[in-house]
Amino acid sequence: MPELTYREAVRDALSQAMRGDDRIFMMGEDIAEMGGSMGVTTGMVAEFGSERIRNTPISEIAIVGAGIGAAIQGMLPVVEIMYEDFLTISMEQLVNQAAKHRTMSGGQIKVPLTVRTQGGAGWSPGAQHAQQLESWFVHVPGLKVVFASTPEDVRGLLWSSIYDPNPVIFFEHRTLYPIKGEVPDEIVPIPLGKARVHLEGTDVTVIATGRLVHESLRAAEEAEQDGISVEVVDPRTLSPLDSETLIASVRKTTRCVTAHEAVVQGGFGAELAAVIQHGAFDYLDAPIERVGAQFAPLAFAPVMENFCVPHAANVLAAIHRTLARA
């Protein structure tokens, strides 16, 4: 099996899809010569030309809106919002337009649009370039929400997102781009709405997304040294949610920790906690612990940033808290 970085895996999905399908094109700021701010699309304009790899003005309303319009007219646009912090500017088009056209039209319209974006802390960008905002979109009927954590997943899920007939908000994590992982020779589409069990365990389930999947696997390793068996599950698709897999896991382990980089209050972990406490009520031996960022705009100074965002140690501490209960 070949090994790809997460960055290469994204590019591979985009390129392979574009090679075989003229409906696909990309729009975003600096995605052409520069290859995007994260180098994800490097080389693509050379292969596909500037009609299909389109640099745009700084117009996050129009980038998403034009994607919607083209999608309605039969294209499969993949648009890039350089940092997910700037999704704030596109909210109206995403929430009132992309998500609602199908229902408002009584089923006349499909919006097969993919909105790729990335974000996350760990490099001191300050408060406006490091948010994790995925939970907002989980609250929006009509959108699908994907957050991939490995090269294999990001490739297979992006492929499925491009070909999903619905608008998909596709989150990548900045610090994951360089990580490497094995991928199948051929792209294997990963169906949206299916969680992945990264590690099987019996004492506690950690449900984690994005960067926190890796932190949780690290925490699980450490926990194992204390004789604690941790199951790590990544929902991968946040909406629709594979609650079945998650609930089954917690019914088995009887304890649950949720972990994401976004702030805890109002985060995706809240939805997870609500779903799990409902579906596994009779099985739970401890309250569900939520791990996430502190409730503060992210400070610049590395010591403060580091304190704000969660790491393996925070996940481990939460694991221990759940196990401290009788």
Binding site: E51, P57, G69, Q73, E92, N96, R102, T103, P141
Partner: protein
């Protein structure tokens, strides 16, 4: 046919005037009938709303009929439009039968949006209506995107955004105009400039006078046209020119179409913010139906005949709607997501055969 104003848009553009004869007398009478159908339909909507028949939030375009009919007359069937909260006229002019629209108002399965949309969300995708939008400015970037799809596929189609003067103050307007001009997309930006945004007169929301609104195109170097929106023929001719311009790859056109809203902003609006006499005077001097009727030298008799015919159609639409079926409550969940996959490997090349 008046050529598209190629003057820099910073100029006030060229006043398009119909040259006699480009629309046959017969066609003009058909368009008169359509405009009257719009008028009577909207009056009926007002009546039914006041009677408590219609739920929701309604806006009529009485006084603005020539804009909808004139623009759509100049379009090809494959061209697409996006409409606004004031959507009935555009939808009728783009060809949707009034039965389907009235049924939509009543929230019936037979409605043009199957009862999911209502007055502010009329859709008819098969007829090129990409939907009315209740968010001011919301449809504009999507029209740019539709035009981009046409351009990428080399289809000779245009995408048309209707919007009001108030909408020109939104960020969505700006970004859409900019992108469309930058990429020379085949878009017509049709400003229905009635000088009001709800209760707010132009002077309180626009730093330009209504007649200067062509300047909004200057910021993009976009071609602008001045159009008399009460004059059906002028609107048709201007739109034809604009369409020719856009479809031939020269880029979008901004049409500053001056018009008047004879009624309140919404059905039920007490209009505390303007003088009753203003409206009365407008109705007397600026009614697009009266102006066209005069132009056609239509007799009272002919008018009565058309009106009776139109009224029958409108009454029929009410009967059709009332006889319609209510959705099942659970149908609310029916269209949230599309099923299946778009399937890799489109046979359709980027430049398809022209569809027109």
């Amino acid at each position: 046919m008046a050529p598209v104003a190629q003057v820099p848009a910073t100029d006030s553009g060229e006043k398009s005037r119909a040259s006699a004869g480009t629309l046959s007398d017969k066609r003009l009478r058909e368009l008169f009938r359509e405009m009257l159908l719009i008028r009577r339909f909207e009056e009926k909507v007002e009546e039914r709303f006041r009677a408590g028949d219609l739920p929701g939030f309604l806006h009529v375009a009485i006084g603005q009929e020539a804009v909808a009919s004139g623009v759509c007359e100049a379009l090809e069937p494959d061209d697409v439009i996006a409409s606004t909260h004031r959507a009935h006229a555009h939808t009728i002019a783009k060809g949707t039968p009034v039965n389907a629209i009235m049924a939509e108002m009543y929230g019936k399965n037979e409605g043009c949006s199957q009862g999911y949309g209502g007055s502010m969300h009329l859709y008819d995708v098969a007829r090129g209506n990409m939907g009315a939008n209740a968010v001011v400015g919301g449809g504009l970037p999507q029209i740019a995107g539709a035009a981009l799809a046409f351009k990428l596929r080399k289809e000779p189609r245009v995408a048309v955004a209707f919007f009001g003067d108030g909408a020109t103050n939104t960020g969505a307007f700006h970004e859409s105009m900019n992108l469309a001009q930058l990429w020379k997309l085949p878009v017509l930006f049709v400003l229905e400039n009635n000088g009001w945004a709800e209760s707010t007169p132009a002077t309180q929301q626009l730093p330009l006078a209504v007649e200067e609104m062509g300047q909004r195109a200057a910021a993009y170097g976009m071609t602008a046209m001045e159009v008399d929106g009460q004059d059906l023929e002028a609107v048709v001719e201007a739109t034809r020119s604009a369409r020719d311009h856009a479809v031939s790859g020269l880029g979008p056109v901004f049409m500053n179409v001056r018009t008047y809203r004879f009624t309140g902003h919404y059905v039920g609006d007490p209009q505390v913010y303007r003088d009753k006499s203003e409206v009365r005077q407008l109705r007397e001097t600026q009614d697009p139906l009266e102006l066209l009727r005069a132009r056609l030298g239509m007799t009272g008799e002919e008018f009565e005949r058309i009106d009776a015919d139109v009224m029958a159609e409108v009454d029929g639409s009410v009967a059709f709607a009332q006889a319609g079926t209510d959705p099942d409550p659970q149908d609310a969940l029916k269209w949230v997501y599309a099923e299946g996959s778009m399937e890799h490997g489109s046979k359709e090349p980027l430049s398809t055969e022209p569809r027109a």
